[in-house]
Symmetry: C4
Subunit: 256 residues, 4 copies
């Protein structure tokens, strides 16, 4: 397996779907929101993406079976006036720079096949300090989107985040723009120390408003606790096995 | 040499062989068991695999000749009711993430050519503590295999190993599953500090039971001591030569 | 996106243009000078270059829109006796060794298409000490150029810089020479601790003399201050987000 | 430039030439001997090899001109009963694992084109202690060569070097063997702390005896001193520029 593999699970027909990306990243905010949406909306898995740019590993489930690390795309057929959605979630992002470019290209190819005209990239913005009242800051790839997003409660700060936006979220905006697809990055302001359900709720609130889809929110808190536990265990195990590891720790550290 | 090179040494005809993977890994358990099986069963070398993903080096034998680092596949024709086996062993695993994916793809291509329908991936599970009574924990790529393996003495722990299974062992389960091949990972619980013959014996006991092949076990202890010596020397030399090394230490550290 | 992408923005017709490279590098000297020239000469952007060898990120502008990191080529039609120019600037250089070779190949392909016969590669030479009277040291890819550059105020030191010239500047001389294109590296001697407008002025003075183009210099100081601020912010943010980053810090550190 | 580039400088016709490799490596022993032989034998440069696997840099000569880092092959037509030689020297070895495999493949392709049937790979064997009476230890890729080399004064130690032989020297033996070419590695035992002319003389003595070519030796000492100076300067500069470097230090450190 030298190439990224796109495995179609199910055929669906969607109308102008909006792509929501919630891969692992800063403070686990994007992953938390998107994983939750997949479940709350009962979205259907339609595509699995495997890639040599992901860490070379499988995860072990509670029942003893394994799961090859991957990214997945789920489809949601909007009810009544709701728009159709594609939800991109996964265990990891690319472990290499080049892989981010390749995989984002793959995501955008799929988006174009389904006629996607708008992308929301969800993430966190780590401040290093605990946040009392979580807010959502934004970045967009077309100026007109700033005003629209402000209407939904998104804040824009001059030249922030100062370090730019790294990984799939950033490239979906950058490379998406080169293909003429509107893209908006929603970053929940978070300490970065914990999996932060309050910040995730705020991101979901903004997103729901823009999508005009109501998503139940109470399960978010529990999901955050569970995710925190899994990440803690993952890190602990990686530390324990570090001296014997086959591969470079840097390439393998958990992102989510 | 830009591509992985598969060098056929010998033609054999096998019936539904089972593939046993014992490449270097945590606590050297898998390598110890598989190297031992190759010798105890007098298996025939049929394939050598060379790859730019292995460290760029040769090993030096006692007689002054060298050995290009590689992976090897041995064949064993089962006697009477025994199944046929393919045994995958080697000096190193891939030194890169992408290489793990590519090489596992190569292993699975070969497995499919020989009609392999089941894979055992052998490894260790390092706890960081010395283990009194070694056990074998398992992970599988099809739920029905859990019960079968429990019958052979394998333990399954909820969501363990928490850090997932990394390298060829993990990918043989993950990518093997995508090709519809059953695969089982047997991990001997070990401290990880030494080459652990007791744990290796336990893995071999479980494996023998499942394969219904008797393998002599006494030589395991001596082989463990010898392997410990070689690894010690290798690490010592690498440390001594580190300041002058041509290549990145991380990429070259011994795995086995 | 697996390959470097050359995006033509505008068609221009130039006569024997001289290529000026000012990508990020030691002390930000080259970037400072070239960015300034683009603005002061009101040069036209004709080409954007995107590559998987750049960090996988977008920068965020003051107005909330993003910019996919890239390299850019601007064209300047010389007035009267002035030569035509191509100016190569950008946010980053390649994040990988191989990428430097590939991208320099791309730059030289473009240079050849426009009939470039001479290249100036601008950079800094960090001494680790604050410099009272900035000077410009040179290196060339054809011996006859040494004398010519001395006439413009360039100093040549025996075997200096002793560590060679790394990145695009070096390779433009080396690989450019293999294609028969004259190339000169102008290195402003600088402490390396700050974005150094005095050193940049000296490089610009030498370059202006050789090109026989007058470039206004006063804005350089202000531009240096602004660049210093942006870099400071970038570094601060990268540090703050480091534990949660998706990608390897080494690959992402700002060069400019 | 995405691929390794072989640039033919001169056509020569040789009879069964022996290939001598002396690229940078442990203690600079191989490079010292081979560089010296090129000069002492007045060999002709016939091939230059450029590669994206070398560090992305140029070196600066005393006269202000640059040299793109590369490997070079020189030819020597043997006088009377002397054999013809190909001498492989260079500024660096590959900076990546994969590059070692690719470049060694390139070297062997060239060797086969010239009908090479025997290779000497020259290197050092660092002990970390100053060596009173330098010796030369060997490794070979065909058992019969052990006895022959002992006749020339080469020592063979059981299983030594314990860490194997890394880089081009190792792979020339390993991959050369796969192509049926005899190859011998001569490693001068050295502290590894300095560029060691005494050890180099010993390697040259052994090699001269085997080749039956007399090579003048006195210039070796002076060459060692000069090389020591250049390396010191290179390291100093790299340290000074480290915080501003475009590329990863690990990938760029001088090998020679």
């Amino acid at each position: 397996m030298k190439e990224t593999l796109i495995r179609k699970i199910k055929d669906v027909s969607l109308t102008d779907p909006i792509l929501i990306e919630g891969l692992p990243g800063v403070g686990h905010v994007g992953k938390l929101v998107a994983d939750h949406m997949v479940e709350a909306l009962k979205a259907d898995k339609i595509i699995e993406i495997y890639s040599p740019h992901f860490p070379p590993k499988v995860l072990v489930r509670n029942n003893g079976t394994i799961k090859q690390v991957r990214n997945e795309i789920y489809a949601y057929k909007g009810k009544e006036n709701e728009p159709d959605l594609l939800l991109l979630i996964g265990d990891y992002q690319s472990a290499t720079n080049e892989g981010h470019y390749e995989l984002t290209g793959v995501f955008l190819d799929i988006a174009e096949q389904y006629g996607v005209k708008r992308i929301f990239a969800l993430g966190g913005y780590g401040t290093g300090q605990f946040v009392d009242k979580p807010t959502v800051i934004g970045a967009v790839n077309r100026l007109e989107l700033v005003e629209e997003m402000k209407q939904c409660g998104v804040t824009f700060h001059e030249n922030e985040p100062g370090g730019g936006i790294i990984g799939a979220s950033g490239l979906l905006l950058g490379l998406g723009g080169l293909r003429g697809i509107d893209a908006i990055c929603l970053m929940g302001v978070t300490s970065g120390y914990i999996v932060d359900p309050k910040t995730a709720q705020e991101v979901l609130r903004v997103l729901s408003k823009s999508l005009m889809i109501d998503v139940e929110m109470q399960a978010l808190e529990e999901r955050a606790k569970e995710m925190e536990k899994i990440i803690g265990k993952l890190q602990e195990m990686e530390k324990a096995q570090a001296p014997y590891e086959v591969t470079n720790d840097d390439d393998l550290r958990y992102i989510g």
